[in-house]
């Protein structure tokens, strides 16, 4: 059972993600996590402000249940299925990040420099989290999908729009990683 506790290699994880998509398609649904953000807006009464949120969100409750499961899955994975191995990053990534002020890259899932409460309770820290979330929420709806809906599901269905969206994900991600992160975190 040791292999379950270690990080799973890409050739195990990738096919298991396909399995999630296939099961959802088999149940007549689709694999798309970002729709939940729209559903949450509708539940919160956003239909008063835009037609975009006026639809039968109850038909999408199943996806919120998937979200609930995903939260539980995250808990199970770190609590019962982890031996605490660090993430085996490329040493170059670790040293690049160190130059930007990130210590011990890979020791945890997320950098405490961004996600610890100490970091969050500063003007810069909260701006980073709010900015990142806002861009993801705005961009994903504008593009009509996220990593699950476009990169996995859409590409698997050989949809051109999804390829364009994934190219977009990379344009934004590359600019952020190579030009903006050094400005935001560099000293």
């Amino acid at each position: 059972m040791d292999f379950l506790l270690k990080p799973w290699p890409w050739y195990v994880s990738g096919p298991l993600i396909t399995l999630v998509m296939v099961i959802l398609v088999y149940f007549g649904k689709s694999f798309g996590m970002s729709s939940n953000l729209r559903t949450l807006c509708s539940i919160g009464g956003a239909g008063k402000y835009s037609d975009f949120f006026r639809y039968d969100w109850k038909a999408y409750r199943w996806n919120l249940i998937v979200v609930l499961g995903a939260i539980i899955g995250g808990f199970i994975a770190v609590t019962f299925l982890s031996d605490g191995s660090p993430i085996a990053l490329n040493p170059k990534t670790v040293s690049d990040l160190q130059e930007l002020g990130f210590q011990n890259a890979g020791a945890s899932i997320l950098p405490p420099e961004i996600y610890s409460w100490d970091a969050v309770f500063s003007l810069k820290g909260i701006a980073i989290l709010v900015g990142a979330g806002f861009l993801v929420g705005f961009g994903t709806r504008y593009a009509g999908g996220c990593t699950s809906g476009h990169a996995i599901s859409g590409l698997s269905n050989l949809q051109w729009p999804s390829l364009i969206a994934v190219i977009g994900f990379f344009i934004g991600g590359l600019i952020m990683t190579h030009f903006l992160l050094p400005l935001i975190f560099g000293t």
Binding site: M21, V25, G74, I76, T93, L97, A132, S148, V166, T177
Partner: protein, 137 residues
């Protein structure tokens, strides 16, 4: 609605994404720096198998549990919204390391500051809904 069914799918999805390390900001940055094959392997193998699986499901005339033939709703034909929206998404993805699946999963791993990211993402979606008709699509 079959609650248990979707709950189990979600639990499985959450476990896979944590164990694959795809929920890690570090892995995302490593990917955008082209310093590891890991994320490309995950996405590449998922998509390759996905293409084959969906093709087989359609080809074999399989029906879903609702009794209708396997069919994924095609996305609207457009260019600018996918490129612009996708790029905006990419900025946020690399900055916070969380896309709309992992942001929930990470709350489960005990990173409660992620709730701020989720709230901001809901706000971002809301603002898109308000500005929708003014944006190029």
């Amino acid at each position: 609605m079959k609650i248990v069914r979707y709950l189990l799918i979600g639990i499985f999805f959450g476990i896979v994404l944590v164990k694959s390390e795809a929920v890690s900001w570090y892995r995302i940055i490593e990917m955008f720096k082209f310093q590891s094959f890991h994320m490309y392997g995950i996405i590449g193998s998922a998509v390759t198998l996905g293409v084959i699986a969906l093709w087989l499901m359609k080809k074999s005339g399989m029906r879903n549990t609702e009794g209708t033939p396997i069919h994924l709703i095609p996305k609207d034909k457009s260019f600018i919204k996918y490129l612009a929206g996708g790029s905006i998404f990419g900025f946020g993805w690399a900055l916070g390391g969380a896309c709309p699946g992992p942001m929930y999963i990470l709350v489960g791993t005990g990173v409660f500051s992620m709730l701020i990211v989720i709230a901001a993402a809901v706000l971002g979606t809301f603002v898109y809904g308000i500005l929708k008709d003014k944006l190029p699509h």
